[in-house]
Structures are given as structure tokens and as C-alpha cells.
Symmetry: C2
Subunit: 365 residues, 2 copies
């Protein structure tokens, strides 16, 4: 790298990484005049989830996927800052925190690096650098909120599928399968419609335990049934009840992390919300009661773009999101929380743009 020419300002790149259960995604983007990341010019994805070893998430395994992909592009300009978001960063990020700063500096001259829990990159993707609350829901569910002040982050749920993740994909799918099996048994609370979907998807009901319990990805299998629950909800009161309860749990988690009543924005992000109106309708209905004064929004962007936003803010030494030993660490001094403000204008690249429309565009199926 010593033979390279010094790139121009327009060749300053930021690197965002999103490491999760389905693999590693990364993006390289240039910054616009406002210091915001432009649409990425290079993206790369692997379908190899980073291994977890005795020291936690394996930094060497992440680097083995990251470095060759980034190296090609490092010839085009300086990577001035990076943000690596990873599932499990809070509890299993020790090896990443030990090794990534040195490795990325040595490889690409990256001096400014943020290591973030995936919930934090989801937050930054959903709300940018603004105060508020974000519920991130896929198979699981976690809520994060911050007033961008010294009180730091508030967190709710994210306890995993046995202890919580209430209202997430595995929770909804599990509740739907239970209702199907209640119908099979002739117990109260059963749904013949959900039983029909169970049998269509998994085969005869008695075979389901043998399919589910031996698997290591039980939550994913449970979550795969959530769209079936949504599909049944229009005509089946049991399925509709499950989604109404899920919506209540989602709003309860959002309420627990609101930094204050003046923080009006509550953003929803993650694949769960792709099921659309069957869940968004109950969320709108119950929001006035459970989240008074709140404005419910769909996320602006995804967690990978959130990582780019964090890297961009860091490149200016101006990251307003609170530092936190588990959720968000940097190798640069954080900007003082008191100076925090809303400096990032959101880009509208999320699936539905801004607010949840007050009325559904039509009968959801």
C-alpha cells in the first residue's frame, strides 16, 4: 500500500459491515457534501456466518471474508472510517474488539473504527443520528432507544426465543403452530385454518415435533410460519388475535425504551414487517394507547446503511450515538453527548419510506 498515490477528497470512502446469522454483507460508499454516505458503489455478500469460538465471534474468520473483498477497492481511495455491526457483539464481541482495530489499520489504514451491536446499526439505519426508539424484528425482536444524552441506550427484550423476543417472527410462528395443534387436539383456542397451513407446509401434525426439535435453528423454523399466520389473519380470528398480541408486545418494547415523551419517533425495522398490513394494522390501532404522542415510522434504511452512516459520522469525529462498552465502541473519542443533534438528513431508501400510512392502501391479504 505504500506505493499508492494519495487519493483526492472525493476518493474518501467509508466501509460498512453487517455480520449476521445468514452471512456477512459489506458496502463501500463515498460521502456527499453534507458528510452523508452516498449510495454504495461496491457491495459484497457472503452466505457464510462468522464462526463463534471460545473467545466469542471469531475475528480472523470475519477478516478472512472482509479483507479480500475490500482490498480490490482500497486501490481506488482511502477508507477513512469503518463500522462493523455484528449479531452478538454485545456479549460475544471480545475477539472483534481486540483484533479488528489493529487489523483494519494495518490492512487499509483505517484509523476510525466503530464496533456496533446489530441493533445499533439497525437503529442508525432506521433513524439516522436522531433521538428516538427503534424496534428491530426478524426471527427475534429487540428495541433500542436513546435521547443522545448521558443516559445512553435503553434496551428492551432481545432475550431470545425462550425468554422473550415477544412479538418477533419466532414468537408469531410458534403461537400459530400452537393454535394449529390445539385444533388438532380439539382443545380450546385452536384454529382449523392454521392447522391446514401447518399440514400444507410441514406435513401431518404428528410429524412436526420430529422435524422441529432435533434442529439447531429451531427459531428460524418457527419464524418461517409467521407469514402463514399473517395470511390467515384476514379470515381467522385466532390468527388475527396472535398478530394483535404481537403488535402489543412490539409497542410495549418500544414504550420501554422511549427516552422521553418528547421523543416522538418510533421506527420499525427488520424483515418481520414485510408481512405488512396484518401486523401494521394492529400496530396502528394500539399505538395511540400504548405509545401516546408517538409517530410510528418505517425504517429509512437497513442496518448495512446504518453502518455506513455510523462510519460517516465517525469520519468527521462527530458520532452522536452514545458510546457503550457492549453496544457501541470506537477507537476515537466520541463526540460529547451534549452536542448531539440531528445532523443527518435521512435518505429514503427503506422499503416503505417514511410513516406508516394511517389507512391501509387496500385490503391486505
Amino acid at each position: 500500500m505504500t506505493a499508492r498515490q494519495r487519493p483526492s477528497a472525493a476518493q474518501r470512502w467509508v466501509l460498512g459491515v453487517d455480520s449476521g446469522g445468514s452471512g456477512v454483507r459489506l458496502a463501500l460508499a463515498r460521502l456527499d457534501d453534507d458528510g452523508q454516505p452516498r449510495p454504495p458503489e461496491f457491495t459484497h455478500a457472503t452466505n457464510e456466518p462468522v464462526r463463534t469460538g471460545p473467545a466469542g465471534i471469531d475475528a480472523a474468520h470475519l477478516l478472512a471474508q472482509l479483507v479480500p473483498a475490500v482490498r480490490d477497492f482500497a486501490e481506488h481511495g482511502d477508507v477513512v472510517a469503518a463500522c462493523v455491526g455484528a449479531t452478538g457483539m454485545a456479549s460475544l464481541g471480545g475477539d472483534l474488539r481486540d483484533r479488528l482495530p489493529g487489523a483494519l489499520r494495518a490492512e487499509f489504514g483505517v484509523h476510525r473504527l466503530a464496533l456496533a451491536a446489530d441493533a445499533v446499526t439497525a437503529y442508525a439505519g432506521a433513524l439516522g443520528m436522531r433521538a428516538g426508539s427503534v424496534v428491530a424484528a426478524g426471527t427475534g425482536l429487540i428495541a433500542l432507544g436513546t435521547g443522545l444524552d448521558r443516559s445512553g441506550w435503553r434496551r428492551a427484550d432481545g432475550w431470545g426465543q425462550l425468554l422473550g423476543d415477544c412479538g418477533g417472527g419466532a414468537w408469531i410462528g410458534r403461537a400459530g403452530l400452537e393454535a394449529a395443534l390445539r385444533a388438532y387436539d380439539g382443545r380450546a383456542g385452536g384454529s382449523a385454518a392454521l392447522l391446514a397451513r401447518l399440514e400444507a407446509v410441514f406435513g401431518p401434525a404428528p410429524t412436526l415435533p420430529g422435524l422441529l426439535y432435533p434442529r439447531s435453528d429451531r427459531p428460524a423454523l418457527l419464524a418461517s410460519f409467521a407469514p402463514e399466520v399473517a395470511r390467515c389473519a384476514q379470515n381467522d380470528p385466532v390468527a388475527a388475535g396472535i398478530l394483535r398480541t404481537a403488535a402489543r408486545h412490539i409497542l410495549e418494547s418500544a414504550a420501554a425504551v422511549r427516552p422521553g415523551p418528547e421523543s416522538a419517533e418510533v421506527a420499525l425495522t427488520g424483515g418481520l414487517f414485510n408481512i405488512g398490513e396484518p401486523l401494521l394494522g394492529p400496530l396502528r390501532e394500539q399505538s395511540p394507547q400504548l405509545l401516546p404522542e408517538a409517530r410510528l415510522l418505517m425504517a429509512e434504511c437497513d442496518p448495512l446503511h446504518g453502518a455506513l452512516r455510523i462510519a460517516a459520522a465517525l469520519s468527521y469525529g462527530d458520532l452522536p450515538l452514545p458510546a457503550d462498552g457492549a453496544l457501541l465502541t470506537t477507537n476515537e473519542a466520541h463526540r460529547s453527548p451534549e452536542r448531539a443533534a440531528n445532523r443527518c438528513e435521512p435518505r429514503q431508501t427503506g422499503p416503505t419510506g417514511s410513516g406508516i400510512s394511517p389507512d391501509p392502501p387496500g385490503k391486505a391479504r
Copy 2:
């Protein structure tokens, strides 16, 4: 065994076996003049659960525990009939059904053998050979009912801790831990009392996922918290609500397996009911609505005694419980269902004897 003398009639023994998650228990008993098993004169227990292999529950491993223990006593008399009850018999009993009849005939000259799901031995322990319904609940929960007629067995729940076992020990414990973590997060529906118990039992709340998820016996760990929920129920409305819902689920399972409105007896069996009034109270309260006309009883005896009862009935060629390829198989023709009647007088050796007293003996703690 060829050198043995022919034993007298009073030396006719029946063998009962209960193979479950904590090991193998067996008992040998003589029969009284009514053909009922007397109190066992020999019992033996191992703490080695029988292995499950590719062919299901490993018959050789069960025999290795069974044969040496029984051999000592076979010198004292003929084992005229046996019943082996095993957890998983319904789905994993193929190897047992293939090998046990021949092996027990060769070893001890046992010509009459019943192989039963543990729910069936629990039924026979709880109600003897009478028609009715039994809910067996420990870590999990399953309900079985029969009218002793051609319609056979009715079964409800028993789907395991992710899909059902609603109202069982793991279900109650899991609900209690969720309520504790809701309090930790500041979400609605939390219980500070349960959070205090969680921290006393497991340590700081954030460490719980790391304790629970890597274990293979997650249901047992969840169920270990059920007594804590019961302990809190007197003063904590959230804990009381969990037990009220558990009681509803238990009664719903019982209702689903009632062979008919004239089958008044519904017996409760298994370790879960040791938590006493905090659960029995809500069961009594909701029973008139969910199980109209039913008489709720505690089990007369445990599943091991149920196995002895089945072996005794079989020794007379007079087993009224319905044959079922998964739940109950014998190597003798079953008695014709139409002749089924209540020939066994119950012995009162269960923890509380007969009915659930209409009023608690005192304030439960």
C-alpha cells in the same frame, strides 16, 4: 433357570418398569386375591436414562439395567406378566417392541408383556382400569382419556415445550422468567417479585440467556423456576395470573380428552402438582366452567404402580385399556373392549389420596 422348582401360586409376581428422563425404576409385586398388585416387595432404580439410538429407545441398554436386577428375584417365583412404560414409547419404541418380548421370555419366562407410553402407565396409576381422563404434568404435559371402548385413546398436548405442553412445568417456569425480564426491561406485564427470584436463583438477569441456551436440558431448567412462580403467587398478581392461565390450559387439555360427559373422573398426576394450592386453587375455581360435571381427583398412584396394575390385568388376560399401536401394545390378545368395566379397586397411595379438597387446608405459601 431350568433347575428351579415350580413356585406356588402365591409366588406369582408381576414386573412393572418406568423408564424416563431421570433413569429406570422397576418394581416386583405379588398379586392379592382380587388380582391387584400388592405393595411391591422389591424395587430398584437407576439414574441412567435409557439411550436413544437410530432405532429409537435402545432395548439393549434398557435390558442391561433391567435383567441383573430382576434376575436375583426371579429365583423366588415366576414373573407371570410385565409392563414396561417408557417416555417416548409412542414415537421411539420400535426397538423395544422388536426385542423386549423375546428377551424377557428368554430371561424370565415372561409370556405376557405390555409396552406402554409413559402417559398410559400414568393413566393406569392415576385411575386404574376405569374410564376417564388423566392429565400427566411434570416438565411437560399430556392428557389421555378413554371410554374403554372401541374409540380407543384420546390424547391432547404433549407436543413439547416449543409447540405446547401448555400449563406444564417448563411452560410455567418460562412464563415466570419472561415476566421477570419484562420487569428488568421496564416493559408492561413485568413482576419485580419474579425478577428478585430470578436473580436469587440464576444471578444477574443479563447472564440468563448464556446459562439457558447452550444447555440441552432447557425444558428442565425452565421447569425448575415453576416452584418460584408458585411461591410468588400469593402476593404477586403476575405470578398468580400465570398459574391461573396454566390451570386453564390443564383443564382445556382434560376437556379435549374426556370420553363423554358421563365420564366424570379427571385425575391429575405428576410432579407438577406438588406445587400444591397455588395451582390446585385455580384448577378448582375454573373446573366448573371448563369441565362441567367433572370430578377432579389427584392420582391414586404413580406410573410405576400403573405399570404393575397393567401387568396384573394382563396376567389374567383381562386388560381393559385399549390397545394402540403407539400407546399400548401387548403380546397377548386384549380383552374385548365391550367387556371393559371397573374391576380394579384403587389403592390410595398417591400423595393426597382421593379428591382435591374443596377448600385449601390453610393458606398455601
